[in-house]
């Protein structure tokens, strides 16, 4: 077991959640309660990372932020190091790849709140913020938690974009999934097997958790 890789993976998962969840709650709720022109397009754009091959994302990130591009040079001048091949670069890539995993469950969570509950809350004289904190967030909570868990699990499983943008640097961008690949190439099947089993266990646990949550939401709706 490569503990360094596990550490990088867990930090990447937690970091992606921290980076995405606030925006996801704001945006998911917006999509759930508002109707506006071009909503269909916005929803499609949010979902794009779900169907996009990770290599496409990796390609664009490398081209945009590699040291040979103007944007990459500017970033390096400000941050002192290039964005690709760093943990921060992985975080950016992972945040983009996880947008649909955050926004969609949260949107479903807020959509599940009946309209009259929201109206009643407004009639009671609660401010929008009070309505959100006391009524909507507690009701949409399973959706928000599902988003966090899915994001965490998906980040742990990300491979292509991590290898392309991160470059397999031990302790910094070598995640568990990349470490498995690395160990396989070194004929170290035992370590690869242990790490693969760890990721499998995490994936199963995650799906069990999200299924339980989804059932809860479904029950309430029905």
């Amino acid at each position: 077991m490569d503990w360094d890789a596990l550490r990088v993976s867990l930090w990447l998962g937690a970091g992606t959640i921290a980076l995405l969840l606030p925006w996801g709650i704001w945006f998911g709720r917006l999509l759930a309660v508002r109707e506006f022109r071009g909503k269909l397009l916005v929803e499609a754009l949010v979902t794009v990372p779900l169907v996009l091959p990770p290599t496409v994302l990796g390609f664009y990130l490398l081209v945009a932020f590699g040291v040979r591009s103007p944007l990459g040079k500017a970033f390096q001048a400000v941050a002192g190091q290039p964005l690709p091949f760093s943990f921060e670069g992985l975080l950016v890539a992972s945040a983009i790849a996880n947008i649909p995993f955050v926004v969609q469950p949260i949107q479903r969570g807020f959509e599940a709140i009946p309209l009259d509950v929201r109206d009643a809350a407004a009639c009671c004289g609660l401010t929008p913020w009070q309505r959100f904190v006391r009524i909507e967030a507690p009701l949409a909570w399973p959706g928000i938690l599902t988003a966090a868990i899915l994001t965490f699990a998906h980040t742990l499983g990300e491979f292509g974009v991590v290898l392309m943008v991160g470059g397999n640097l031990p302790g910094e961008t070598r995640t568990l999934s990349v470490a498995i690949y690395d160990r396989m190439q070194a004929f170290d099947d035992r370590s690869a097997g242990v790490m693969a089993a760890a990721l499998l266990a995490i994936a199963v646990a995650t799906l069990m958790a999200t299924t339980t949550l989804a059932r809860r939401v479904g029950r309430r709706r029905g």
Binding site: G66, L169, G171, Q185, A186
Partner: protein, 260 residues
């Protein structure tokens, strides 16, 4: 509901705790060196010996020479590059990314390998492979991707020299690196492959049969190393160490010829 929430939150917290200091704190990590995949075992041994002798650790990242070259061009923070050929380091030198032209540290060798139970009979002239190919017995044959891996390029040259290239092409499985090609060649899904002799000696030799390909049959795999622009003192020492007797003995043990 709260019980489930609490247990989920506890799980997440526990996981985060386990992952103590964030990867962003990277200042005190050992310097990182990029190395061609054929060095996977040899260079690890050299680095271990270096750590004992000099008291400094270096991190090794293995990949195809072409892939690593691309990463260095894109700003990967490696301090030294040990390639499987001369072309890739020269390309970096021309782009002004290296300290100087570097040194040839080893000459690699190619070997034909067949896993246990394979119908392929190995010999240095590839006669067995030609026979098997003609009889339609080659299901899959592994080499490294010639575009990014010099050992793949050498394999292509050998197959061309024996007039087998066109016939075997639809049957080839290409490894991203020579290590992956070796992996493919051992799993039994392929009848065999052309792989680095260093990997055969380190891992494959007990898993099947092999024959070393005569050096005259492909352009020499002169492996060049260079210090990169941001090389620090530890890596400078490692660069010198690779050229010293201890390291050369290890490389020779792993099947490389080392320049005098």
């Amino acid at each position: 509901m709260p019980r489930l929430l609490r247990s989920a939150a506890a799980c997440l917290t526990a996981l985060s705790l386990l992952a103590s200091n964030p990867p962003i704190v990277s200042a005190q990590r050992p310097p990182t060196i990029a190395a061609a995949a054929n060095l996977n075992f040899a260079l690890r041994e050299v680095a271990d010996r270096f750590a004992r002798a000099a008291g400094n650790r270096v991190e090794l990242v293995f990949g195809a020479s072409g892939t690593l070259t691309r990463q260095i061009q894109d700003g990967a923070p490696f301090e030294m590059f040990l390639a499987a050929d001369e072309e890739f380091p020269n390309q970096l030198a021309k782009a002004g990314l290296t300290r100087d032209a570097g040194e040839i540290y080893a000459v690699g060798r190619l070997a034909l390998f067949a896993p246990r139970g394979s119908p392929l009979q190995v010999d240095e002239r590839l006669d067995g492979l030609a026979r098997l190919l003609k009889g339609g017995g080659v299901t899959r044959f592994a080499i490294a991707n010639p575009e990014v891996a010099p050992y793949g390029r050498a394999a292509e040259a050998v197959l061309r020299k024996h007039g087998l290239w066109d016939g075997i092409r639809p049957r080839l499985v290409l490894g991203d690196t020579i290590a992956q090609a070796a992996q493919f060649a051992t799993t039994g899904n392929a009848v065999g492959g052309l792989v680095a002799y260093s990997l055969v000696l380190a891992e494959l030799k007990d898993r099947g049969t092999h024959a070393v390909i005569p050096a005259a049959d492909y352009p020499p795999l002169r492996q060049r190393m260079t210090l990169l622009k941001n090389a620090g003192p530890i890596v400078e020492r490692f660069y010198r160490y690779v050229q010293e007797a201890d390291a050369r003995a290890i490389l020779e043990k792993h099947g490389f010829a080392v320049p005098q």
